[in-house]
């Protein structure tokens, strides 16, 4: 019945002018994408699990591919969203690109925290998980030094880890759109103000902070492009299969978030957004003062000009604090996510990271 009426509609559309036909076909394709099509495959670069702890997994990518760079790279992702944004799809994956170029790449996947993980603090991840992962990386690759790449909040955590462990053989540190200075965090500075934002009540009531709540906050930073923009773009370009594939991948990742462990969230908001402790050397982790000046590794600090989650002014101040002899700040004309996926990332970010790592691993 529905099928025959659809056929009638289509035969009717066939008689219409070309422009109208094209609009109808785009609308039809958009409906298919939003309702019928299965989710795209992600994270397809071959990998093996070399260590696990609680829900966390440490992956080594393309172990069979020859490693020409003898300094392995450990990637640390944020506690929100899933890390497969770094390995989104073949041809659109930072991890695939780096492993194909001979880098020995490892990724720390925090997994999806359950209600039992609501008491996990940032220091649990920084002092218990990352050091063990680093040890496993050195053992597995049989290397004397290693490099680290932190993306978004993962970069902030990486900087704290590196500052607290100057004895570890960290050769290079790459930060991708990681905030360090929270003195002006855009709208977040107002929204998370202690006078209005009841942080303790939120954490005590919710346990873990649902992904939907964090995602809503991020989208609210720029509401029209974030809430409606993707559907406008799809309606406009649904006849371009390449665009549709990229759109589906990005939407899958954006909706596929994970809850933020409650205690870690409390620290993240209070110590960073409300009190800006890290950049002012006022942050203490298990009683140890975090001094970014303890960092001596080579640094590549990447910011994105259109990033409203970690604006360049929040990213750049790290370079003035560290003691590294080789430190570079690189501003890309892109956004918080498009720094890691998409055409701009493939053409600029991937070669930049690859070359910088190679030059600093000799």
């Amino acid at each position: 019945m529905i099928y025959s009426s659809m056929k009638e509609v289509e035969s009717w559309v066939d008689k219409m002018p070309d422009e109208y036909k094209s609009s109808y076909n785009r609308f039809k394709r958009m409906t298919e994408v939003l309702t019928n099509e299965p989710e795209p495959l992600v994270g397809q670069t071959p990998k093996e699990v070399i260590w696990t702890k609680n829900k966390t997994k440490l992956y080594r990518y393309q172990p069979a591919v020859k490693k020409t760079n003898k300094v392995p790279l450990l990637m640390v992702y944020a506690l929100i969203n899933k890390p497969y944004i770094l390995d989104l799809a073949p041809g659109n994956s930072l991890i695939e690109h780096l492993t194909n170029q001979g880098h020995d790449v490892y990724l720390l996947d925090w997994g999806t925290p359950g209600y039992e993980d609501r008491h996990n603090k940032l220091e649990d991840y920084i002092m218990d998980y990352i050091p063990r992962a680093a040890k496993k990386v050195l053992q597995t690759s049989d290397a004397k030094e290693f490099s680290m790449l932190g993306y978004c909040m993962g970069g902030t955590m990486t900087s704290i880890f590196a500052a607290l462990h100057p004895e570890l053989p960290i050769r290079n540190l790459i930060f991708m759109t990681s905030p360090f200075d929270f003195s002006d965090a855009g709208h977040y500075t107002n929204w998370l103000d202690k006078r209005h934002f009841n942080l303790d009540k939120l954490v005590d009531t919710m346990g873990n902070i649902p992904h939907e709540m964090i995602d809503f906050g991020n989208k609210l930073l720029n509401p029209i492009p974030n809430f409606y923009g993707p559907y406008m773009s799809l309606a406009d370009r649904a006849d371009n299969e390449g665009f549709v594939e990229g759109w589906k991948l990005m939407q899958k990742w954006l909706k596929d978030g994970i809850p933020f462990p409650g205690e870690a969230y409390r620290q993240w908001i209070r110590d960073f957004y409300q009190e800006n402790k890290l950049i002012n050397d006022k942050l203490y982790v298990r009683g140890h003062q975090v001094k970014l000046s303890n960092i001596k590794a080579n640094i590549l600090n990447i910011a994105a000009s259109r990033d409203n989650i970690a604006a360049p002014k929040q990213v750049e101040p790290l370079n003035d604090k560290v003691s590294s002899k080789s430190k570079a700040f690189h501003l890309l004309e892109t956004g918080h996510v498009s720094v890691a996926v998409g055409r701009k990332a493939i053409n600029e970010t991937f070669p930049l990271v690859d070359k910088w790592l190679r030059d600093h691993s000799k």
Binding site: S23, R26, K53, G114, R132, H196, F197, L202, I224, P225
Partner: protein, 142 residues
């Protein structure tokens, strides 16, 4: 024959979006930056949390009445498993350190023995050379 439609509804919709988006965005950004917005958002969150707390407490009371485990109790069991895993992880770490230490000691012993072996060889060579010097080629008759 190429036909054109005088009015394309999609194009009109897209044009309206493109033209008004920037203007709307500016107005929205102004509103989002105001203190009254933060205040309102905080109040909305408080109301939501109050509701959420009520739902959680009601669900827990209900589950307890029917002798069913609550979310917190199930999470406690999971925590016990995680703690156990942490202990195994720490044992594994200690075993690895022991293995590393014993490997280092064995290697150090190997080096010492090899160096002793070389010294013994050189002593034996020196003794042999000494014997050759002190022993005449043709035995002398008394």
């Amino acid at each position: 024959m190429s036909q054109t439609l005088p009015i394309d509804p999609f194009k009109i919709w897209k044009d309206i979006y493109d033209k008004t988006e920037a203007a709307w965005n500016d107005a929205i950004q102004d509103s989002l930056g105001k203190e009254s917005f933060s205040e309102g958002m905080g109040q909305t969150l408080n109301n939501y949390l109050q509701y959420q707390e009520f739902v959680t407490n009601t669900a827990e009371t209900y589950l307890k009445q029917f002798n069913m485990p609550t979310r917190g109790e199930v999470a406690n069991v999971a925590s016990l498993v995680i703690n156990l895993e942490n202990k195994i992880d720490s044992l594994e770490d200690q075993l690895e350190s022991l293995k590393d230490d014993s490997t280092k000691e064995i290697n150090s012993l190997k080096r010492t023995i090899s160096s002793l072996d070389k010294k013994l060889d050189s002593i034996l060579t020196a003794i042999e050379n000494n014997d050759k010097k002190t022993t005449p080629a043709v035995p002398t008759k008394k």
